[in-house]
Symmetry: none
Subunit: 207 residues, 4 copies
DNA sequence: AATGAATGAGGATTCATTCAT
DNA sequence: GATGAATGAATCCTCATTCAT
C-alpha cells in the first residue's frame, strides 16, 4: 500500500533527480568532466550543495545516475528495434540513424557519455558499461543476419564492436573537427562500408 | 662544435626525459589520467617534484611530451607503410596489424593515448591530434585504392574514420573485457568486414 | 523582510570577517606583508584554511578587505573634520592629531597600511589608494585656507602631499627608531613647520 | 703586499658585482621586489644562478648590496653639500634638487629604495637605514640654520624627518599618479612650504 | 529534508639554496 | 670559480564531504 505521503515523497524525489540531471548536463557541457564539481551541479540544479547528498551518496553515485539517464534512451531505442521484425540490414540502418540523431542532439553529455572509461572507477565491469550492452545487442542482430543468409559467416561479436565503435567514432571525429555531416550522408557512408566493404563488386566476385 | 659538456648535458637530459616518460606511464596505468599528479610522476620517475619543472614548463607540457612519445612509433610505422609500394588493401592490413601489436604491447598508456580528447585542452586543434593525423593518412590509402579501381567510389574520409576508430575500438573493448584476441584473428576479422562488408557475395551481386 | 535566518547569517558572517581581520592584523604584525600567508591567517583567525575562501575569493580580496577596514576610521575622521566649520589651520591640526593617535594605537597594521604601494597590484589606480584620497581632502582644506586669506597662495596639491607624507613619515621614523613622541609634541612640531616654516619672522619679513 | 693575482681577482669580482647590480636593477624594475628571483637576477646579469652564491652568501645579502649601491650617490651628494659653505636654506634647496633629480632618473630602483622597510628584515636597525642617515644630516643643517639665526628655534630632528619624508613622498605620489612635476616647480613648492609655511606673512607677523 | 559554512587533504607551481661536475 | 640541475619546503587555491541549524 502506497500512502499518499509516500507517493508525494517519490514525486518530489523524482523532480529533484530530474533537476540534478539537467543541472549536471549543463555543467558537464560547460566545464567538462573535470570541471564538474558538486558546487556547480548544485547551483545549476537550483539547490544547496548539501542537498545533493540527501539524494546521492557521493559524487560517484550522482555521476552514475547522470550517465545512466543519459544513455537510457539509446538503449530503449535499441531494444525496440531488436525486437521489431525486419531484416538485419534495415535494423542496423535504423540503429545507426537513431544513435547519430541522439548523439548529435545531446552532444552536451556526449563527451562524458563516450569517454566512459576516462573517469576510471566510475563504472566497474565492462559488461555493465553502456557500450558493452549496445555491442551485445548489435551482435544479436548480426547473428540474425547470418542465420537469414544475408550476412556472411563471421565473428559477429567482433563485427558488432567495429560497428558500434565506428558509429560513435565518426560522430566523435566530427565534433572534434567542429562540423558534422548531415544524418543521411553519415548513415549512407556507414552502411555502405559495413554492408559491402571497401572492395568493388568485381573484386569481391573474384575472391 | 659540440663540446663534450654539451653532449653530456643532452645525454643526461634525455635520460631524465626517459625516466619521466617511464614514470608517467606507470602512474597513468595505475591511477588513470585524473590520478596522474606531479607528485606521483616525480616519485615514479625517482626524482623530486621540483625537478620535473626543470624539464617541463608545466604538467600540460609534460603530458604532451608523454603523449607524443607514446604515439610516435605508431605514426612512424604509418608513414613508412604509406610510402611503401603495394596495394591499398595490403597496406591497410599491415597497418591494422602494427597498430594492434603496439596497442596491445603498450596497453599501459593505452587509455591516455586513446582518450586523447578526454583531457580537454591537452591538445588543441583536432587536426593536430594523433588520431586525426592517422585518419588523414588512412584517407590517402583509401583514395589510392579507389583510383586503382580496387575500392568502390566512396567518402574516403568517412571510411578512414571508421577504419581507425573501429581498429582502436576493438582493442579497447578487448581490454575492457579483460581478454584480447590473437592478432591474426583480430586482423582477419577487421579486414573481412572492411574489405567485403557484412553482406554475402550473392547479396552484393544483386544490388 | 529580513528573515531571522538571514540576519543570523549576516551576523555570523560579520563575526567571521572580524576574526579574519584580527587574525590578519596579528600575522601582518608578526610576519610582515610577505610573510602573511593564508595558512597563517587561517590559524590566527582560528579557522581552517579552506574556510577563508568561503568568505574571500582570493588572498588579494582578503587583503583588500583588511586594508579597507584598517583605513576606514582615518577616512571617516577626515570626512567629519572636512565638513566641520572652523579655520583651515585648526582643521589641519585636528587631522594631524587624530591620524597620529590612530597610527600609534594601531601600529600593528601600520606597515601594511602605510606601504600601500609596496604590495604591487594590491590596489590598482593610485587615485583609489588610501593616501591619495587623504591627500585630496587635505588639498581642499588648504585651498579653503588660501581663499580665507590665512594661507599663502601656493600649489595646494603639492602642499597637501607634503603634509600627508610628512605626517605619516614622522610616525614611521619614530617606530623605526623604537620610540615615539608624545602626541602634543609631535603635533606642535608638525604644525609649527607647516604653518610657519623654518624661517624666523624677521627673515620672512625681509623677503 | 697585493699580488697581481689578488688585484686581478678583485677586479673580476668588482666587475661581477657591477653586472649583478645592473641585472638586479633591471629585474627590480620589471618585476618588482617580489618578482625578483635569483634566477632572474642571474639571467639578467648574464651568469649562472649558482655563481651568485660565490659572490653573495644569500639573496638577502645580494639585495643589501644592491640597496647600498643604489643609495650611495644620494649619500655622497649629501655629504658634499653638508660640508660646503653656504647658508642652511641654500643647502636644503640643493639637497632637495639633487635628491629629486636622482630619484626621478633612477625611479627604476625607486620603489625598492623607498620602501625600505617593506622587505622586513632586509635592513636591521633603523639607524643604519638609508633614510635615517639622511635625516641625521638634514638635522645638522637645520641646527646650523637655527644657530645662524636664520631658522626659528624648533625640534630640528622632527623638522628633518618631515623634510626628508615629504621630499620622498612627493616623488612617490607623482609616480603613483603617473606624472611628475618639473624639478624647478617641485623644489620651489617644497622650499616654499618648508621655509615659510602655509601662513601669510601678515598672519605670521600677528602671531 | 534543506541549507551552506567548515573542514582539511591534496594539487600545481615557485624558488632559495646546495652540490656534483 | 663557474655552472645549472636537483631539491623540497612553502604557497595559493580547490573540492568532496560533513554537520549544526
Amino acid at each position: 500500500m502506497t500512502s499518499l505521503a509516500e507517493r508525494r515523497k517519490e514525486l518530489l524525489d523524482s523532480m529533484v533527480r530530474q533537476a540534478v540531471y539537467d543541472g549536471a548536463v549543463v555543467v558537464l557541457t560547460e566545464y567538462g568532466l573535470n570541471g564538474t564539481t558538486m558546487d556547480r551541479v548544485a547551483a545549476a540544479a537550483g539547490m544547496a550543495k548539501g542537498s545533493l547528498y540527501n539524494h546521492f551518496r557521493s559524487k560517484q553515485e550522482l555521476l552514475e545516475f547522470v550517465h545512466a539517464r543519459a544513455v537510457a534512451p539509446m538503449h530503449e531505442a535499441l531494444d525496440l528495434i531488436v525486437k521489431q521484425s525486419g531484416c538485419a540490414a534495415d535494423k542496423l540502418r535504423s540503429i545507426s540513424r537513431i544513435w547519430r540523431e541522439y548523439l548529435v542532439e545531446h552532444h552536451a553529455v556526449f563527451e562524458f557519455l563516450i569517454n566512459d572509461q576516462a573517469a576510471k572507477g566510475l563504472l566497474k565491469g565492462s559488461e555493465q558499461t553502456a557500450r558493452s550492452t549496445g555491442i551485445k545487442q548489435i551482435t544479436v542482430i548480426i547473428e540474425q543476419g547470418i542465420q537469414e543468409g544475408a550476412f556472411r559467416s563471421m565473428d559477429a561479436r567482433a563485427a558488432a564492436e567495429m560497428f558500434v565503435t565506428a558509429s560513435i567514432g565518426m560522430v566523435e571525429q566530427e565534433f572534434a573537427a567542429g562540423k558534422s555531416r548531415p544524418v543521411d550522408q553519415a548513415v549512407d557512408a556507414l552502411m555502405g562500408v559495413f554492408l559491402y566493404g571497401f572492395c568493388t563488386r568485381e573484386a569481391a566476385r573474384q575472391d
